[in-house]
Amino acid sequence: MLGKTANGLFWLFRYLERAENTARLIETGQRIALTRLGDSAAEWRSVLQSAGVWPAFEAARGEVTKEAAINWLLRDRGNSSSVYSCICAARQNARLVRTALTGDMWEAINSAYMNAQENLSRQVAERDLPGCLRTLRQNTSLVRGMTHGTMLRGERYDFARLGTFLERADNTARILDVKYYVLLPTARAVGSALDNVQWETILRSVAARGGFRMEYGADSGPREITHFLILDQRLPRSLAFCAAQLQENLRSLNAGNAHPSEPMRKLDYLNRKYLAHEVEAIFDYGLHEYITEIIGLLAEIANEIEREYRFYE
């Protein structure tokens, strides 16, 4: 397959994943704002940071209000990571790699784009926000479902998955990066109401609230949340889960070669150094440093993939 096609598939799925993650961050932010437990401006600021768009927002909009934050995250074309920008970019990449997609996948992407055009071309009223975000989630899920159900398992599929899981790992890591201080063991074992809201926010941001309650029980705190989001192989948004998926797809791309590829080496390093220990070791290492280093490594892995598979000339 063409290097350009691999590149297009990789980014198509990165953008889709980013659109969905940002939509979830907005939902979580809105929920916090409605509970009125925290400082609203500070919460929206941390949402913008988690989405990785804080510096651009600050430069373009300045003051943080709920409306401004939602608009920036959801539909501002000046923000290349807004949900709308991501859907447009995903569709543009889909057009570019149209021959590598099944008809079902293309139609799902195209209808996600048409719905986004219809729903996001104007400011979204607060009462329409939940429905709007639900539609977005369903639309991106349909693309994922069509991909799962109709795409040949081969190189193309591997690049689609690499894009998905690199973006997802990055997203989970960013959420931890922004909120790490509420997870530090110095916080009281039984959290205050505010702590509880913060912990819930983190879990909601990765769609893991229900699973966590079920598996870890009602009295769990920051230690368990940290373990869940980083090391628990069962959670589809944990770093360990994403790393395992990346490994599978990188291996499949490297089939037939005697030696591991450069991205595989990098990923091995990430696995050995950061994901092979108990959660205590993470706190001993320093949660913040730990997460910062993982984010850096994920970017390096993406660069290695780009080089190894000739995305560009």
């Binding site: 063409l2 290097g3 021959t99 008809g103 048409m114």
Partner: protein, 474 residues
Amino acid sequence: MSSDSFFDEMWGTSQTLRDPYATFHQWFDAEDPARLRAKQREAEDLFRLTGITFNVYGRAEAEERLIPFDIIPRILSGNEWYKLSRGIEQRVRAINAFLHDIYHKQEIVKAGRLPAEMIARNEAFLPHMIGVEPPGGVYTHIVGIDVVRTGPGEFFVLEDNARTPSGVSYMLENRETMLQMFPELFSRNRVQPVQNYPTNLRRSLAACAPSGTKDAPVVAVLTPGIYNSAYFEHAFLADQMGVELVEGGDLRVVDGRVAMRTTRGYTPIDVLYRRVDDDFLDPLNFNPDSQLGVAGIMDVYRAGGITIANAPGTGIADDKAIYSYMPDIVEFYTGEQPLLPNVPTWRCSDADDLAYVREHLAELVVKEVHGSGGYGMLVGPAASKREIADFAKKLDAKPSNYIAQPTLSLSTVPTFTAKGLSPRHVDLRPFVLVNPDGIQITPGGLTRVALKKGSLVVNSSQGGGTKDTWVLED
């Protein structure tokens, strides 16, 4: 002119239902107009979802338009098609023989059947092709012949498209849409299939691979990119054929072959179906600023290392000034009388012809020799005095740039409008594949329809739409 004086393909000239439409008419009469209106909207939704759009030049990226689709099919009998397709086949054979001659011995010039300056001074003549033997001897692998009709048996060739004819994706998607929306119509009528086109195209291209090709030839489609107006079609054809869609940036010359950058290194291409114009094909040999082509591809081509489809330099055969010589060209190379006539054409390069055209601008259609897409033409009967006067100035400035034709009484086909069925003018572009083993014509083609009442301009850029075209099994 009232529309009564036109030949209608369903009702003839005397309101008598013509045979090919008998079964369709029976069905239509029993249909609820409200259901059909809903179906018309459903068709548009299907096209939008499938993404069958074209980009409008000079507009923002988001500007993707649908070519309007009309749900009423245009129906030809098997016999009508048989006669038409024989004429097309003959013409395409002649075009290929002509191209070979023009780039080799130029016998037709020596025989005095074509003035030497028609070649020598023609911008579409490509000196790089002199003496080049294209693989399999094929110049025009894919041809679209534009045909118009004025009566039951009167078909004329309006234009030959021998460079990179477009529109075949619409032929295929129109049929796909009709099959989804009106399956019952296809149960009642025996319509000859068009769906084999992509498979035939791939086989036909593969059959034209360079002579040394081992194994299955590697075929690829070359597109100018995502912003090209026909990008959808390029992606569609590559997808349907199951081959790579490449851009100039994916290609380079490696070890004397044109190769594409894959995730595992560079892979040589045997046959390149290019949808990039000659001028942009090779920055080393043609336009040095081109980002769309491959540096050095012409050298590889001349050394026999790749098949380019269509061959560079085929534009000389569909040039509108050459068009007027087509009857002679057909006769010269086939030794037969042309089965399909030309539309009578005045060459404005000729002083007598120019004088006549100047006198009769209000009745004629005047076209640029190298124009396409309905741009830069004058439709005399539809133009204002001012428009005619302005056009006369352009004509006087460079007469050799123009040809003129009578305003033809193009046939009409019933079209679905707010007032029910209304006659609208149509043309037809059948698609022809050429390889060393022969010539294949897909039954039917792309029918373009001028949706505006009374309009004779069918180009999509000028408000034209399309219809599914049926050829019945007799």
